[in-house]
Amino acid sequence: MNFRLSLLSAIGVAALLTAPAFAQDKSLEKFGSPELIAAAKKEGAMVLYTANIAETEQEVIKAFNKRFPEIKVELLRAPGGQLITRVKTEASAGKLRADVVDHSDRALMKGIEDLFQDYAPPNASEYIPEASPSKKLWPRATLVWSIAYNTELVKNPPKSWMDLTKPEYGPKKIGQVIAPSGGTTWTRSMFERKVVDKDYWKKQAATEPVLFPSNAPTSDALVRGEVQIAPILYNAVLPKQRDGAPIGILFGKEGAPVTPFSAGVTKTAAHPNAAKLYLNWCLSDEGQAFMIKELGNLTSLKKAPFYPEGFDPKVVKVWIPNFDEFVKLHDEWIAEWNKIYGYRQ
């Protein structure tokens, strides 16, 4: 009797102890099979190369580590062109350290597709096919362009992209990130010419905007009042606005150009399971929701979990460039943009 009681108690205690574990495993299934998760935890680390802003990326890693504290993500951030050179050189020397590479220019990533292994997240079918240039590369981050202004200096903010051509917003009041800066700015420039107005660049350049090399210094100049208005990536200004910076943000009524990034797991990954688990989490509803809510990203999921504050897809139409045009038009159009805006290349 005593023995039976002890056995039953032991089974009961064991059941109680293992129940949460089973429950947790169930909740983790959407990020990968139990085998993948176990293998990833065993690897315990992974190396991520990204062209995204380092601070933003740290936030994503922190959120991932809330789910999987056992996996340490080492980050290497470099500007787009430099990142590609490093990846190519390391790979050729047989010393590619990255397990995951994440880049804003899908065309450049397509060019090094061979370096990546076959990989698809568990929810692959839920993604818009056009957002991925290859079956190995996935839109882990999807950034959207907004129009931001300094609320202390602009009392009559623009409402649309076309408003940015009005003489009242010049000269030197608008900050403009140069078109050849990278994948995101090239998307914006295509949108301006293809969707807003075929002569948009000429009209906008006539307001004599201040040119910036990338989004980040533009957002800083906007906060400081060096420029008053700027077309800018939403994720470069939303965190600042939340922290209390004098910034107002809107989405132009003509639409919102969107740039899906490209991320993949390298063939030579030393931590392939941790890499896949990281991407699975980032591409899951939970990961995408985090990036939308906390960072101001959009998503390339067919059905977004929700949209960032201030963005209503019923009012503002999302615009993703056709990938073939994204590649083909690049050189000729960028040269034209440089000429119109007087940018010396």
Binding site: T85, P213, A216
Partner: protein, 596 residues
């Protein structure tokens, strides 16, 4: 018979000694050849091989590691494209004007302060000496950010104050004039370092003779003192000019808004576009190499034409000019310099580091304490990379300073104090890196060293090697100035006393050159800690350094954290340099005592 035996023995003995002498001489010759070959081999690895990679990059359109050495076609197309490009002409012209003007100002400031500190009775000289060196600790990016906060035409703090005082005039640092002034005030320490050490080590007998002959203090200064320390002035001038040529942070922050492109910002653009244009960047870099190569050649011609030996075996204390009431004027100059170069920019950085946002509507808003917090420091130290980058940087800095210092001393001594074969070649090769901007040589180091067997890539050693190679010319120049000033009679005296070459170096040269050696190592340490360009391609996720993280924060558009991190970096450096400075002074005293 006994006499005969003695004569025979002495003849045999003499013959034996002669044979031994011949044998010793032969060994010495072999030793010299081995030494020269060893130095040349190390230099080939550190300099020739990466530069060859750079040239290959400029002459082809390939990445030698990716495309393999066989798969390229040599052509001058990149050069012709670059030379025909009017934007390159403009960038080259702007670089020459900005760096030329900046150097002139740096020489004026550096020389004035070294004279004030070493040769006048101005009060608080220790303080002035420290002040003159402070700008060296400030990374160029930080200096530029500080001045853009202070003197941007739209939102600059100085202009906010001018507006408050109803003064219509505005400062605008986003201009060529702005670039020249910022370059000049921040690179004056290079001139100061060279000239102060030369003035301190100078035998004052010629100056005393001039004074006895009735020459005025000013006349003595310009006809005796400055001409005597000409190698130091020329070295300081050249170094500050070429360092300015290779700086990215200042023209990037101040030149970009005002549309004043220079060669480094142009090269950075080339490496940053999608897709990156490295071959074109390498070609632009070759233009920079030609310009600086010419200047280095010119400097060597000027220095080798005359003798500048001013440190001999005589005890001396450099004379001090009594300035009377004018000493308060010289003190005033130092205070103004301190205010412009240290206090104002530090205040700007402190405001940026502690203020939540940098929008400052008016003077009242500047003092609104609700706008200040520790949030940027909290975020900085929340990032695990911050602490790791500090530790990595210190490690790289120390390794670079020690290994680089020893290697530079070996080269400096071989070139300046021996007549070994191949020393001219060693000198030329060791000077080459001065002419290559870090942004471009960084990728050449990557191409050159990544394929080497062993685990060099991904360690701090690859960064240290790059810094040792890149800053070798600066370190050797800093050392050579001290070495050139030591009279050969001191070494000859040691040889006569039976000391060998190494013994002479240990007991005579090193103690006398110790201030120079320590200041050269300190310089190397500072340069290594600040170096950004060549780090960009060589750091990995494990070996992140402060300069790269600082650029990350700046590029991330977060001036607050950039400023907070700059403050941390500046304080760390100031402490370390203070320690080195104390060691250097002790060394100078000991050196003189030992020489006596």
């Amino acid at each position: 018979m006994a006499a005969d035996t003695t004569a025979l023995a002495s003849t045999i003995g003499a013959a034996g000694t002669e044979a031994e002498g011949v044998r010793r001489e032969r060994w010495r010759t072999i030793g010299r050849m081995v030494w020269s070959t060893l130095l040349l081999l190390i230099l080939t690895f550190l300099v020739v091989y990466p530069v060859a990679m750079l040239l290959l990059g400029a002459l082809t359109n390939t990445n030698p590691v990716v495309d393999g050495f066989g798969a390229f076609h040599l052509s001058l197309k990149n050069f012709t494209t670059v030379l025909e490009n009017p934007n390159v002409h403009l960038a080259l012209f702007n670089s020459m004007v900005a760096c030329g003007g900046g150097t002139a100002l740096a020489v004026l400031i550096g020389l004035t302060f070294s004279w004030i500190v070493v040769r006048t009775d101005t009060p608080f000289k220790g303080f002035i000496s420290a002040v003159s060196m402070i700008p060296l600790f400030v990374p160029p990016l930080v200096a530029a950010v500080a001045w853009s906060i202070l003197a941007s035409p739209k939102s600059g703090l100085i202009n906010t104050f001018l507006k408050w005082f109803d003064i219509d005039w505005r400062f605008d640092v986003y201009t060529m004039g702005g670039l020249i002034v910022i370059f000049g005030i921040y690179y004056a320490p290079y001139v100061y370092m060279f000239t102060a050490s030369a003035l301190r080590n100078m035998d004052p007998s010629l100056e005393e003779a001039a004074e006895i002959s009735g020459a005025s203090a000013t006349k003595t200064l310009f006809t005796i003192t400055f001409p005597l320390i000409a190698p130091a002035i020329i070295s300081g001038t050249l170094l500050s000019f070429v360092v300015m040529l290779g700086i990215y942070g200042i023209p990037a922050v101040l030149g970009t808004p005002g549309d004043v492109p220079v060669l480094t910002t142009y090269i950075f653009k080339l490496t940053n576009w999608s897709p990156p244009l490295y071959s074109t960047a390498a070609s632009v870099a070759i233009i920079l190499m030609i310009v600086t190569g010419f200047l280095v050649w010119l400097q060597q011609r000027v220095i080798s034409a005359k003798s500048y030996i001013t440190v001999a075996g005589k005890a001396f204390r450099p004379g001090v000019t009594r300035l009377g009431h004018w000493r308060y004027f010289t003190l005033g100059l130092a205070v103004i310099y301190l205010f412009v170069v240290v206090i104002l920019p530090t205040l700007a950085i402190v405001v940026a580091a502690f203020r939540k946002f940098l929008f400052i509507r008016n003077v009242a808003s500047l003092f609104d304490m609700k706008q200040y917090s520790l949030i940027h420091f909290e975020r900085l130290f929340e990032n695990p990379l911050a602490m790791r980058s500090i530790w990595n940087t210190m490690e790289v800095g120390v390794v670079t300073a020690l290994v680089g210092g020893v290697f530079a001393f070996a080269i400096g001594y071989t070139v300046n104090r021996t007549n070994l074969g191949g020393r001219k070649v060693i000198d030329v090769i060791a000077t080459i890196p001065v002419a290559i901007p870090g942004l471009v040589i960084g990728v050449a180091y990557l191409w050159a060293w990544i394929g080497l067997p062993g685990g060099l890539y991904g360690t701090i050693w690859i960064l240290a090697l790059a810094f040792i190679a890149r800053f070798m010319p600066d370190t050797i120049k800093a050392l050579s100035t001290s070495l050139l000033q030591i009279h050969r009679e001191l070494e000859e005296a040691a040889w006569i006393c039976g000391k060998g070459m190494l013994g002479t170096i240990r007991t005579i040269v090193l103690p006398l050159a110790r201030p120079g050696v320590i200041s050269a190592m300190t310089l190397l340490f500072i340069l290594a800690i600040r170096e950004l360009g060549s780090s960009l391609f060589l750091y990995t996720s494990n070996t992140m350094v402060m300069a790269v993280l600082l650029l990350d924060y700046y590029e991330g558009g977060n001036v607050g954290i950039t400023a907070a991190f700059s403050l941390v970096q500046t304080i760390l450096l100031a402490v370390l340099i203070g320690v080195a400075n104390l060691m250097s002074r002790g060394g100078a005293g000991d050196g003189i005592k030992q020489a006596n």
